[in-house]
């Protein structure tokens, strides 16, 4: 025991040292000021960047004065630089009389929307590496940075993961600004606030926190900021990194943050008082706090009429349970509770299993694992090969395995239904959770039958009730129960009756719709009542 702890401590010390070194390495120019000699500055930048090939340097002559334009090739909009910096700089006639060159260039020549003055090296590298152009002038211990971000990015495309029949067809891209704009376009309110920060010691990834001031709970906003500020990691390559660093509990299979690639979903969640976290380089936007029922609400639910939405949502919840306990029900019923199967079916299953050498549990396990492998392979395979694999897979699972008496046809049906049911959960993260827990429940069912399944479900329920997402109970508004928020849980009320925002998430401003929103045929005489009573 003591040896182990000693070893662990040693390792920890080592790690600390590593961190320290890394920090030292990167704490390059510190608070050093920019030199007056621009050549000196250029050579310094070259040195810091290790003569990187993508560093573009353009020497300039402004009248009698010398200067240089620096940018990172590929990150900047080349056309913009040509038109709005180079052309204007070169065209300008420089007055002969005494004047402030720096101010002149800053005010009169750089024709860009966003220009700023830089005095220290840290800032200079920040700007340079995030796609700004830097203008160094000889004799000035300041630099000008111009916003010329550009370069090749993916354009807005249709969502690939969260599809919907009706509703907007745009999805987020990898560019932070595009993403925030997609949301801003939907919520044209000054109350939509965006705060940004940089996370990742090496990657310096831009992160934006978005919320609707007045609807979102200030406490949760602060909590989110605090958790983001706490992050000390070298890289943020996707919002998934952020998710795993800020979620409440690691050891749970249930997602406690919501992610989506649909701007309309983020907008609706912002309006429910949630907070969106947009990470540069990730087409998935996180929203917190997330609650369990949220993962069964698909965007279609709100775009189509309520009766249809409600029944489809019920179906989705049913499918979730099928995906969760389908195979375990089969195992329990065939190995413990044969009396529960209708006689004819019991005999039919018995006949099919007659030649199968494995117990039901092993049989189920074989099929489930085979399917999981197929699914994973289908995901990773190059598109050209994918087709072939799916045909082989279908044949292996559907036909050959049965004919070879490795599994029974009923088992194939059970696995297929389970697999299909699993895909009907709108958010993949929740579907994966059911996929994992299914195996635990199968084992329990093989050990003690329905009793085991019940035990498993009870433990699951207790676990779910103990979860929290940014202080909000995960099972709300079911547990703790909130009567007025049942409008959007199992039954999706008509839009005009969705009166309140979730009470556990939005604080204060919770009324969503105005009075008398129920549509009705016009009465005689007055055809319209005033309809300008929408809340916020």
């Amino acid at each position: 025991m003591s040896i182990l702890t000693k070893m662990l401590k040693k390792k920890q010390v080592q790690r600390k040292n590593d961190n320290f070194r890394q920090k030292l390495d990167h704490s390059i120019p510190g608070e050093l000021l920019i030199h007056k000699d621009y050549q000196e500055n250029i050579s310094r930048i070259k040195g810091e960047l290790g003569n990187s090939a993508d560093l573009g340097i353009r020497e300039l002559k402004i009248g009698p004065y010398q200067g240089a334009l620096l940018f990172i090739d590929g990150l900047v909009d080349g056309k913009g630089i040509n038109e709005f910096i180079l052309e204007t700089l070169m065209d300008k006639k420089v007055p002969i009389e005494e004047f402030d060159l720096f101010q002149f260039v800053l005010d009169q020549t750089v024709a860009l929307g966003s220009v700023s003055t830089i005095t220290n090296w840290n800032e200079l590298f920040d700007k340079l590496l995030s796609g700004c152009s830097i203008i160094l002038l000889n004799g000035c211990n300041k630099a000008i940075s111009g916003e010329t971000r550009g370069g090749e990015t993916r354009s807005i495309a249709e969502p690939t993961q969260q599809l919907s029949i009706r509703g907007p067809k745009d999805a987020f891209t990898e560019t932070l600004r595009t993403n925030t704009a997609l949301i801003r376009r939907r919520i044209k309110s000054p109350n939509l606030w965006i705060e940004s920060m940089k996370i990742g010691r090496v990657t310096q990834t831009d992160i934006a926190i978005m919320y609707v001031k007045g609807i979102a709970d200030e406490e949760i906003v602060n909590e989110v900021k605090q958790r983001l500020n706490r992050i000390d990691i070298d890289a943020i390559l996707d919002s998934g990194y952020v998710e795993q660093l800020i979620e409440e509990q690691t050891f749970t299979s249930f997602p406690t943050t919501y992610h989506t690639e649909r701007p309309d979903v983020v907008s609706s969640q912002l309006l429910e008082g949630r907070i969106a976290i947009v990470a540069d380089g990730s087409p998935f936007v996180l929203t917190v706090p997330a609650v369990f029922v949220q993962f069964f609400q698909a965007p279609d639910d709100y775009y189509s009429r309520f009766d249809l939405s409600t029944s489809v949502r019920m179906l989705r919840i049913l499918a979730f349970f099928i995906a969760l306990i389908g195979p375990s029900l089969y195992i329990a019923a065939t190995t413990f509770h044969q009396e529960m199967i209708p006689t004819t079916l019991a005999i039919a299953i018995a006949a099919q299993r007659e030649n199968v050498p494995f117990p039901a549990f092993v049989e189920a396990l074989i099929m489930e694992v085979t399917f999981e492998i197929l699914r994973e392979a289908g995901l990773r395979l190059p598109r050209a090969v994918g087709q072939a694999v799916s045909i082989v897979g279908a044949l292996v699972i559907g036909q050959a395995a049965v004919q070879a008496s490795i599994v029974s046809p009923v088992m194939v049906i059970v696995v297929s239904i389970t697999a299909i049911a699993n895909f009907s959960t709108p958010v993949f993260a929740m579907a994966i959770s059911a996929r994992l827990l299914r195996f635990a429940l199968m084992a329990l069912a093989a050990l003690v039958g329905f009793f085991g399944i019940m035990l498993g479900l009870i433990v699951m329920a207790i676990h779910l009730c103990s979860l929290r997402s940014f202080g909000v109970p995960y099972m709300s508004p079911v547990a703790p129960f909130s009567g007025e928020n049942q409008q959007d849980v199992f039954i999706r009320y008509p839009i005009w009756a969705l009166k309140y925002r979730p009470r556990h998430i939005a604080r204060g401003n919770i009324v969503r719709t105005g009075e008398n929103q129920k549509p009705a045929p016009p009465k005689h005489g007055n055809s319209h009542e005033s309809d300008d009573t929408k809340g916020n």
């Binding site: 065939t334 190995t335 044969q338 006689t343 018995a350 006949a351 007659e354 003690v448 085991g452």
Partner: protein
Amino acid sequence: MNSFIRIFMLLIIVIPLLGGCWNQRELTDLAFVMALGIDKGTGNEKYDVTFQVVVPANVASSQNGGSGGQGPPVVVYKSSGNNLTEASRRATKKIPRELYYSHTSIVVIGEDLAREGILGVLDALDRDPEFRTTTVVIIAKDRKAEDLISVITNLDKLPMNRFIKTLEATEAMLGENIKVTIDDLLQGITSSGKEPVISGFIMEGSTEKGTSPQNINTTKPPAMITADGLAVIRKGKLAGWLDYNNARGAVWLMNKMQGTDIDFNWNGIKDAVSTTPFLSNTKVAVSIKNGKPFANINIETAFKLSEINTDFDNEDPKKIEVLENRVSAQIKSEVESAIKQVQEYKADIFGFGENIHRNHPKIWGEIKHDWGNQFANMDYQINVKSYYRESGLRGKPFWSDLKK
């Protein structure tokens, strides 16, 4: 403290494992007993028990994955013992799988045993957790239960389905038999002032032919299973049989009539008019008159015309009144003859005693010890009211047009 909680959690996690697949049985380890036959023992033992065990592969032979066996869908094992448990445990010597009773849907009792008394077998059927109390009980009339159980039939691949479905169909369409479950039987036997009935089945043809594949490879099976009559049980013993119209009369009186047909002569033609009652309700009030129990029986029924093979004006209210009276009279005579027959057996299957018990508990206390005789001598009055409700797709029969 922390380590204590950890160890505690570990122990809790281990709990399901300790169960160790207790009671786990694969479907292929089970012998599904579809029907159980109980006969009077031929040897030293009290009972001969036959188990009709299904051969799954032969039932589901048409399906993919089954072995596609060609043999009969069931196999019958026989064993004997002084009680059911003994017999079933002894049977395991011959049967390669564990006997499983949860899907047993029928218990056949041989007539010999029924005459001697069936009380000895009921507790096992009631007590065994696997056995369902909804299992149907029938009596093999003039036969051994073994014979009925061994016959294989067509139409229904599982022979036991044959019994159940026949019983259900004839109960709904003819009304001479009723489905009696173990639960009903026990209730009838234990309640004071009421005796149970059990439906009877006969087998036409020879057992030998009935048990061979011959029986299902022909359109005219040499051995047939037929529902036939109601067995009247008195004190756990078969007292006698009610047949045809008597059985139907008893069913009317027990208020179990779902549907039947009543025919009578018209214009001198035999059974020219056929009617089918589809709704009926029987109310019985038993009172004490002159120191003797007296039953007041009221039967109401609605019927429709199903066949007229003569000239008959069914649009004439007067004719319809006559028709209704004829139906009532027919029902009345059937009920009357049923009561007379049952009175001979001294077994109160109609629950007249129960009726007195409920309405006149004090008097019941005095007469219950001699109820068999009291029942046999009691008087009754039967009022039948029937209502003409439907004529089917036609008004007057075409016979009326022929006359013109």
